[in-house]
Symmetry: C2
Subunit: 353 residues, 2 copies
């Protein structure tokens, strides 16, 4: 064997790469760590799967997902030219980082927020600007000053892992004043009380993205989309892989989109469970940031790390972020009522109650 | 609406983007333009689809496709650490371009070859070095001199659109002497008389990729993989999206891989059809480059462009590349016997025979 020499771009050799939450294989595990839904996808998805003729797989999928674009555009009051779809919203995020960031075009995001954003900057070799949120995890008053050198500003709204929703007025102010692309990541937007999708009609520098991994119970499918000015979409389409959304993904995503009733019912169910879990945990002494998402960011009375590790021993997975700003908290995905009762029982045990 | 200003990297604004072959929707069309298989995927794929529990889609897929890596490694006499999978081999190509090319790390490929390679360099903002093939579309003798400044050399073997197979000895010489990554794209390798997969064991700078879009009749699925030294795979995994291969894709790809008998039979069938079509076209005056792939690169007696356009009028799609080196040729995907007889009938009509 010829001796290994690295031909990687130096940024890649020196970086860590993004570490996703654990995906355990089998075993009796309660999985409240990656914000999946505890419920099955729409039965329309099952039907579409059953109806699918497997022989069609010999052909390439529609490279521009025509039917999906039309449905998404119509549900958002936009044109198909304002829509791009991806292999999960990760794909959309990667395309965005590649289009709008580089050595001389920095990427900005809040801190704490989705830890993929700085990773994307690193992979792209772009400088990264971290904008610390204020003590209540809200937008700091001098935000525009802090991001003035960035070309792309990625904002998760609701924020992850904190779960809060920045006021829409402040979002609009950023869109109006920022000299670059404002990427509003609405991965958890369906669980929130409002959306920024309409800002796409008003501001030509705004991209709003959505995923089917959370509110549509389809994390395994890998489907996400983004809405933006047609010129932005046109450029992003150049960047995407030609056939980035698989044929089955297109069919099943469309079936999910068209079942509006199941979707609405699912959102209500998660919101109900979220409210219940929030108050049950409050009774046990947890301090929870009011959540607009499908997870709770909460301070356990016994300390974040201890609670996380004790639950893990009991086969309950949640998420712990050891950084300074987040180390007292844990992030718990809103699950089913059954999962919550196991979690609460384990919690009482841990707290010695 | 705020006036549109481009925040794209300047390379993106000025480039065209890759144009894939036409994917017509419906209609009675004979589609011999994008090298799909005329046959259905393995029945094991249908079975895997039927057996799939749609409720599992609520969860993320295995981010590192453990079962697939094991099966692929075992079929290639390698370890799982030598395998990465992608959302089609396009995903693998994009990851490779991002890892190993940049403003100061040029990408090289032969010309003519797969036109995606220069597009990938463009999207990455990397200089592109085109190495003209010799008059018989073989590797020129001064190749090493021509690629000396490149950091990554992408070689389709068999080549597309020409269909020929460079001698393996010459490939090995490039692997041994090139100071950078040699990416051997075996998209059509299953139809050829040998493979370069074993070079991965000998050279730590070699990546060999495969796709399920051609020889496994699964273009709609989007699955491809690459084999390389474990350090290369490790770096490429940092670059890939966390969950780049969807859950259904993983299940169905695995089912296809395990049905070795159907696969072998399918390859034989395509080779048989390829030989038949080659000799039938020869009888009509076509000059065809001996093909080691699932398509023919051939000179129609009436001229390439005319033949392409006349077939299109008759609802038969093939591919025409108007560049200087390729303008006399057309590329015809090997289809079923029925498709060939329609093609031959139309051809006689066009040639006035």
């Amino acid at each position: 064997m010829k001796e290994y020499i690295s031909y990687f771009r130096s940024e890649i050799d020196s970086m860590q790469g993004y570490v996703p939450g654990e995906q355990p294989k089998g075993g009796k595990i309660i999985k409240l760590n990656t914000n999946e839904s505890p419920y099955a996808p729409s039965p329309a998805v099952r039907q579409a799967l059953q109806d699918f003729d497997y022989e069609k797989l010999r052909l390439y999928p529609d490279p521009v997902f025509t039917e999906l674009k039309e449905e998404i555009a119509s549900q958002n009051g936009l044109s198909p030219e304002n829509v791009i779809a991806g292999n999960g919203s990760d794909d959309i995020l990667t395309i965005t980082a590649r289009c709008f960031t580089s050595k001389d075009k920095p990427l900005a995001s809040f801190d704490p927020s989705y830890s993929l954003y700085p990773t994307l900057a690193g992979l792209q070799g772009a400088p990264y600007i971290a904008v610390p949120l204020d003590k209540d995890f809200n937008i700091p008053s001098n935000v525009m000053e802090q991001v003035k050198d960035a070309n792309c500003f990625m904002i998760a709204r609701p924020n992850a892992p904190t779960g809060n929703l920045y006021p829409k007025k402040e979002m609009e102010k950023i869109c109006a004043e920022f000299n670059g692309i404002v990427f509003i990541d609405e991965a958890y937007g369906d669980f929130a009380e409002d959306t920024c999708a309409d800002l796409v009609k008003k501001y030509s520098n705004v991209i709003v993205s959505r995923t089917f991994s959370k509110s549509r119970c389809l994390a395994g499918l890998r489907f996400g989309y983004a809405l933006a000015h047609e010129k932005i979409i046109e450029g992003m389409v150049k960047m995407k892989d030609s056939y980035n959304v698989a044929m089955l993904t297109q069919k099943l995503a469309l079936a999910s989109l068209r079942d509006k009733e199941y979707f609405a019912r699912h959102i209500e169910r998660i919101k109900e469970n979220r409210a219940e879990l929030t108050s049950e945990l409050a009774r046990l002494g947890f301090k929870t940031i009011p959540s607009q998402s499908n997870f709770l960011f909460t301070i356990p009375p016994c300390g974040g790390e201890k609670y996380f590790l004790e639950l893990k021993k009991r086969n309950i997975l949640i998420r712990y972020f050891p950084a300074e700003r987040t180390k007292d908290f844990v992030r718990i995905t809103v699950g089913s009522k059954e999962e919550h009762s196991c979690l609460l029982q384990a919690t009482k045990e841990i707290l010695g109650m």
